[in-house]
């Protein structure tokens, strides 16, 4: 379109950048907790090529909650899906171990539905406070 609002091109560039940036921090591959505990600098590589460092204390806290088998099954970082426009969010729990961790952190029983545990804003704050580096946000592009 030839006629455009002033600064519209600039805004459109910003929007493109925004969409690129919004999920660029997702890990290329999640790593099992047992592997991370063995690393000197526990980290994962993100889609944008950067590294995401885990805090060792958090990993040790998680290891304290799970047995050896579960430690191998828990893949980190845990992903928190932010629902579009609604106050609801969901922690993606592909296995039992992730659900157990969420239950322990929230101190309540959780039942994953289709591999997700639905949480609300106050619960999100609790999870993020305890697991600051071992959780990541995911913004689904579908709305």
């Amino acid at each position: 379109m030839s006629g455009e609002l002033p600064y519209e091109r600039l805004l459109q560039e910003s929007l493109k950048h925004e969409l690129k940036v919004v999920n660029a921090h997702l890990p290329v591959e999640q790593k099992p907790l047992s592997d991370l505990l063995r690393e000197e600098y526990p980290h994962v590589v993100c889609k944008d090529g950067t590294t995401h460092l885990f805090r060792r204390k958090e990993l040790e806290y998680l290891a304290g909650l799970l047995d050896a088998e579960e430690q191998g099954a828990l893949r980190l970082p845990l992903l928190i899906e932010v629902g579009a426009g609604s106050g609801e969010m969901a922690v993606l729990c592909p296995g039992e171990a992730a659900a157990k961790v969420i239950a322990c952190v929230l101190d309540m029983t959780v039942e994953p539905k289709q591999g997700r545990v639905t949480i609300y804003r106050p619960q999100l704050a609790v999870i993020r406070r305890q697991l600051r580096t071992t959780t990541q946000y995911i913004f689904p592009p579908r709305v």
């Binding site: 379109m1 455009e4 609002l5 805004l11 925004e18 999920n23 921090h25 804003r121 999100l124 709305v143």
Partner: protein
């Protein structure tokens, strides 16, 4: 505020379809950006609280540390204390990396732990006050590193919130209203064209009937 209308080269149906697609895309992006802002604000507030807490802790630890240091100095004397501490210097290691919070890269620092239980001064010649002072200075160091990470995170998150809010405002108050107004304008144009067409047909019909 008067709504700006995007200038269209030709008011055609194709243009209308294109604009409607753009509006749908803009609305989608707006929702995502809104979510991102709310998440960033949540993180910002949490880090702000932790920063305040860390600062308070650091001040308390420093106060306690200086108190025990002065008692230690009084107990051993400055010369003896300096002699003991001269050999106790050691290099500090900090593991530095990045962490990603909702698309914002924030620094991550972690103080590498020294060998636990190893002290470089004579335990036989010194009192427990010196042990306490060493312990407190180690805690202070850890808190300083934590505070450095928190303050930088706070700054970066604040900057990102500002930037994202501008985009959100542009979408909310400029792009989406302009697109909506343009779509409305195009509908009005089409209706007007229909009315003109109908009037023209009526006139042609009258002319044909006269003949």
């Amino acid at each position: 505020m008067p709504q700006q209308v995007v200038k269209v080269t030709r008011p055609t149906k194709i243009e209308l379809i294109r604009l409607r697609r753009r509006l749908a895309l803009a609305a989608r992006i707006q929702k995502i950006v809104k979510d991102r802002v709310s998440i960033l604000i949540l993180e910002f507030l949490q880090i702000a609280r932790q920063t305040v807490d860390a600062k308070r802790r650091l001040l308390d630890e420093f106060a306690e540390g200086y108190r025990t240091l002065s008692i230690t100095a009084g107990y051993h004397g400055y010369i003896a204390l300096e002699k003991e501490l001269a050999a106790s210097e050691r290099d500090l290691g900090i593991a530095a990396g990045l962490r990603n919070v909702g698309g914002v890269r924030i620094p991550a620092f972690e103080l590498k732990e020294a060998e636990p239980g190893v002290v470089s001064y004579s335990l036989a010649d010194t009192s427990s006050w010196l042990d306490r002072t060493a312990e407190l200075s180690q805690t202070c160091l850890e808190t300083i590193v934590e505070l450095a990470e928190l303050q930088r995170s706070l700054e970066l998150l604040g900057r990102e919130i500002n930037r994202t809010k501008r985009i959100l405002n542009a979408l909310e108050y400029l792009i989406i209203p302009a697109l909506t107004a343009t779509i409305k304008y195009l509908y009005m144009k089409f209706e007007e064209r229909d009315r003109e067409e109908r009037a023209r047909l009526k006139r042609v019909k009258v002319l044909l009937e006269r003949k």
